[in-house]
């Protein structure tokens, strides 16, 4: 990476007087770009038609990109932490837009394996590096409001899908009369747009100087927060040896499994729960859930700065389990009840994603919080497979047994209640990290806490 030394962390240190409110748009530019992955479904049917195949091999491209997201975040997390956000965003932009380029070439030449390699594999690496690249920087700029800052960025990931979905449909409509013939140019165009957007982010991001702190800020003492906001630092390699890391892994896994399993089946589910629900109404329901998912990331994560990370996860998981149980018992009784319960559930799903970097900062300090976050995101990959698998498998099993309508989902919703209860208990078990995992102060002074 010697040729990329102009992107080094040292070159991006903000000078005196630089406003920290100029940092979030750089993070948003990256997250709004990579959030496109959640709008991949708009390409599914055109790709099925273009390649003359069925949904399974096309759906696998999305799964591969999500698995690569988790793996690359885990593998490259430490590198991202040391290389700095500008270099990481630069590499993420190359991978993500390069993924579109190779994928588009694969579509144009009828080579499906190139779509796997491009969008799925390379693009997935761009997702993982891009997702974690601004997190630790934001936390260092906003030590007094880590939930707000990471919530703002990770809200962008939810917002990215809201932008990409209509934009992709617009592009396909412009390029050809049949969507199947327009996927390749749409991929090329999106790749170019995201490259520019992410490069703008990369060349706008700045890191604070080591001894910088917001004026008048002093970190709360550990006694004030009952030890739940540490002033010490734990390295990524030590963090994964702590029970706190794995308890939080279970917490994130539970929260994501419950949310993603529902999100993936939201449209058919409301139509099965309520006879006569039109496709347009179901699309409106999915749109409402997407907004809840996006806004929950900012609202709940910001709220966690006030109420604390552990209490807010208690709400995500405990109240979430109660809401899922409500759907099991009363779900078919009222459309309004169904919609309100699911909107809150999906806002908690988004909130869980956005609050976790701040939770990690509270437990492990800021030294390698980005790298620790990267390792934790393997829970997302696992949940991305488990959630839809449970819902689809149970629905298929029920259908084979002669069930129909809402009966297709009762068992999977009940399973989600159990998953959330497991996460709830795991969260309750989280205690401050044992001091033996803390970096010695001499090491910590190389990466000091804000004064």
């Amino acid at each position: 990476m010697g040729a990329l030394s102009f992107l080094d962390r040292e070159r991006t240190v903000a000078p005196a007087g630089y406003s920290r409110w100029l940092i979030p748009p750089a993070a948003l530019a990256v997250h709004l770009s990579i959030g496109q992955v959640y709008a991949y479904s708009v390409f599914k049917n055109p790709l099925v038609e273009h390649f003359g195949t069925n949904l399974t091999p096309i759906g696998l491209i999305f799964s591969l990109s999500i698995v690569m997201l988790g793996l690359s975040a885990a593998v490259f997390g430490t590198w991202v932490e040391h290389a700095g956000p500008r270099k990481a965003m630069f590499v993420a932009a190359l991978c993500w837009s390069g993924g579109f380029l190779i994928g588009g070439f694969g579509v144009a030449t009828m080579q499906l394996w190139l779509v796997y390699l491009g969008y799925g594999f390379l693009g997935g690496i761009g997702l993982g590096i891009g997702y974690i690249s601004p997190v630790s920087t934001l936390i260092k700029w906003f030590p007094d409001r880590p939930g707000l800052s990471t919530g703002l960025a990770i809200m962008g990931f939810g917002g990215g899908a809201l932008i990409a979905s209509p934009l992709s449909n617009l592009l396909m409509g412009v390029y050809a009369s049949e969507p199947a013939d327009a996927v390749a140019p749409a991929f090329f165009t999106l790749g170019a747009i995201y490259f520019v957007s992410m490069m703008l982010g990369a060349f706008t991001i700045r890191v604070p100087a080591d001894d910088w702190a917001p004026e008048g800020y002093s970190p709360p003492s550990e006694s004030e927060t009952h030890g739940m906001r540490t002033t010490a630092d734990v390295t990524a390699s030590n963090a994964i040896r702590t029970p706190q890391f794995w308890l939080l892994w279970v917490v994130l896994f539970a929260n994501v499994t419950a949310g993603i399993g529902f999100l993936e089946q939201a449209s058919p589910m409301i139509q099965d729960f309520f006879d006569g629900t039109s496709a347009a109404a179901a699309a409106g329901f999915v749109g409402l859930l997407s907004l809840a998912n996006m806004s929950g990331r900012f609202i709940w994560s910001s709220t966690s700065d006030v109420v604390g990370r552990k209490p807010i996860y208690t709400a995500y998981l405990g109240l979430g389990a109660v809401l899922y149980l409500t759907l099991v018992i009363f779900g078919t009784s009222s459309v309004a009840l169904f919609v309100v319960a699911t909107v809150v559930i999906l806002s908690f799903y988004g909130g869980g994603f956005a609050t976790v970097p701040a939770y990690l900062k509270d437990l492990f300090g800021t030294l390698e919080v980005g790298a620790i976050h990267g390792r934790l995101l393997t829970a997302w990959s696992a949940a991305g497979v488990a959630g839809p698998l449970v819902v689809n498998a149970v629905a298929d099993y029920q259908k084979a047994a002669g069930a129909s309508g809402a009966d297709l989902y009762f068992y999977s919703l009940a399973i989600m209640v159990g998953v959330l209860v497991v996460g709830f208990v795991a969260n309750l078990l989280i205690r401050p990290v044992n001091e033996r995992f803390h970096e010695r102060r001499a090491a910590a002074t190389a990466h000091p806490q804000p004064a």
Binding site: Y18, G159, T204
Partner: protein, 49 residues
């Protein structure tokens, strides 16, 4: 909210260009987000129709 940074080590890149880029980027990301939110919100009335 106080946001003034303390005097620290030398920056190797001027702040002026980055400030302008950041402000332009704020405008662009807000417009992009509004586009996505409005396009999505327009589907919602069908749910209650």
């Amino acid at each position: 909210m106080a946001t003034r940074a303390q005097e620290t080590g030398p920056a190797t890149e001027g702040a002026g260009g980055t400030r302008l880029r950041a402000l332009v980027l704020w405008v662009l990301v807000v417009i992009a987000l509004l586009y996505g939110v409005v396009a999505t919100a327009m589907k919602i009335p069908a749910l209650f129709g």
